[in-house]
Symmetry: C2
DNA sequence: TAGATTGTTAATCGATTAACAATC
DNA sequence: TAGATTGTTAATCGATTAACAATC
């Protein structure tokens, strides 16, 4: 349940304000989800609410924390102490939720020996030893992309079974190992994608208002553009592009053509 | 389409190896998705493949880049130049994809005037001016959680319509404004959640193998625990907790009880 | 032509949500 | 009791995927 942390945060806020109980409606609003969904989620954890009253805030905080494993101690290694590794080592949200930075590792001799967040940066050679002796099961990779898979392999080999990957690479891992990827460029690309659709698409041949239409219309518009030889489409080996424009009903573009 | 950046990365790798064409099967494997899904995704962009051959790599790279808006210049402001803001300012993936850091902003006079990634850190007072004059439409928030909503409001007011939020807060924005949240603690919590289910749950009363069973069984197990008065359940104002254990067919736990 | 692979349909699956009986 | 709110069902929605006709 990827929504549990969301609920937990909202509940923690209520707890700090000493709110004793909360209804599914209120909590759902605070967490930004549908109240039926929230009730269903909670019902999977067991039925912790009271009809006519709502949910006991403290009790729910405890149950969700336990369900998420936040009542345990999770030693974590961070590999690659560049800017991002530094930032993560200092990240406040770690310690408060049971995540303990067991070690910072880097391959660069110039970085090894320096200090980040009060911890010494140690050399990659110590990876296996640290993972084994400190029972580390979660690894955070903040290396350059080229080194990520190699680091991942070593972590897995040493016994790590969960990896948080910040390098822009798809990691290959054996079954039983979880990988979660945080990719800043992907997040920004998605924003740019939506941004582009917002403030007035420029009215060029290849990027018209047609692109905002539903699927079939957009596909038809794309065919039109290629038929017109716009952009790189002209380079493509399309045998009879112009003839394709008016074959079946699906290809009849008169309804979507500007007058 | 949140998968386009994924495809683009796989295609870029192929492009660098000068691979001319790729089948949906191959590309899907590289991107880690189902090939039918990939073909469907591409069909929404227009039909850029050739039956019996596959997709032209270069052409697809171009089309997806254009679709994502990566052929444009996107000025971005980063607000909150702590460790994370620093890391982002230096993040290589930005510039290479058309994202240009227009300004770094911070409220702390001790930080203002310093340099990060070759750019001067400027004071929050300049926010509105920078957004307007540089036509910034994307803002990145790396402030402490308490300041995030306020910063967000100012960004939106000034004209920003896309926000990448690293602060652990749910931001409220008007319609037409996109927010994407990157929350490191949530990612780690999800890993810990799965991690907990993996290497042998300890056989305590409140955290048994029953928790791995399908929904109904787990709910029943949870009821059992409460009926048994385990954990904080005893503190709860449950009128007749013990009596609840054997009321209807749903509450019959004999089928899931250990012998 | 024969083999390969797309584009698309239709089936499947899972997630979301409205609605309401159960019950505090 | 009357009002409120949960827990859960059933309907809805959207996303995924197998399958295959179209066609290179």
């Amino acid at each position: 349940m990827a929504r549990l942390p969301l609920y937990l945060r909202a509940l923690t806020a209520l707890s700090e304000r000493s709110v004793p109980t909360v209804s599914s409606e209120e909590l759902a609003a605070a967490a930004g989800v549908n109240s039926a969904k929230l009730r269903k989620d909670f019902s999977y954890l067991g039925s912790y609410g009271t009809r006519g009253v709502g949910y006991d805030v403290e009790y729910l905080v405890y149950q969700i924390s336990r369900e998420l494993g936040l009542t345990q101690d999770w030693p974590v290694v961070i590999v690659g102490i560049g800017n991002l590794g530094h930032a993560l080592a200092n990240y406040g949200g770690f310690a408060s939720r049971g995540f303990r930075v067991a070690a910072l590792l880097d391959a660069d001799p110039n970085v090894v020996g320096s200090t980040a967040a009060g911890l010494p940066v140690r050399h990659m050679d110590e990876l296996e030893d640290i993972v084994v002796t400190q029972h580390v099961s979660i690894g955070v990779i903040t290396t350059p992309p080229g080194a990520a898979q190699q680091v991942c392999d070593r972590l897995v080999e040493a016994g790590v079974t969960s990896i948080l990957n910040f390098a822009p690479t798809v990691l290959t891992v054996p079954d039983g190992v979880d990988v979660r990827k945080v990719d800043l460029s992907i997040e920004l690309q998605i924003l740019a994608f939506h941004e582009q659709r917002k403030a007035g698409d420029e009215p060029s041949a290849g990027d018209s208002v047609l692109d905002r239409a539903p699927g079939p219309v957009r596909a038809a518009a794309a065919k039109l553009r290629r038929a017109a030889g716009g952009g790189k489409a002209a380079d493509q080996a399309k045998s009879t592009p112009a003839a394709k424009g008016a074959k079946g009903p699906d290809d009849d573009l008169s309804a979507v053509m500007p007058a």
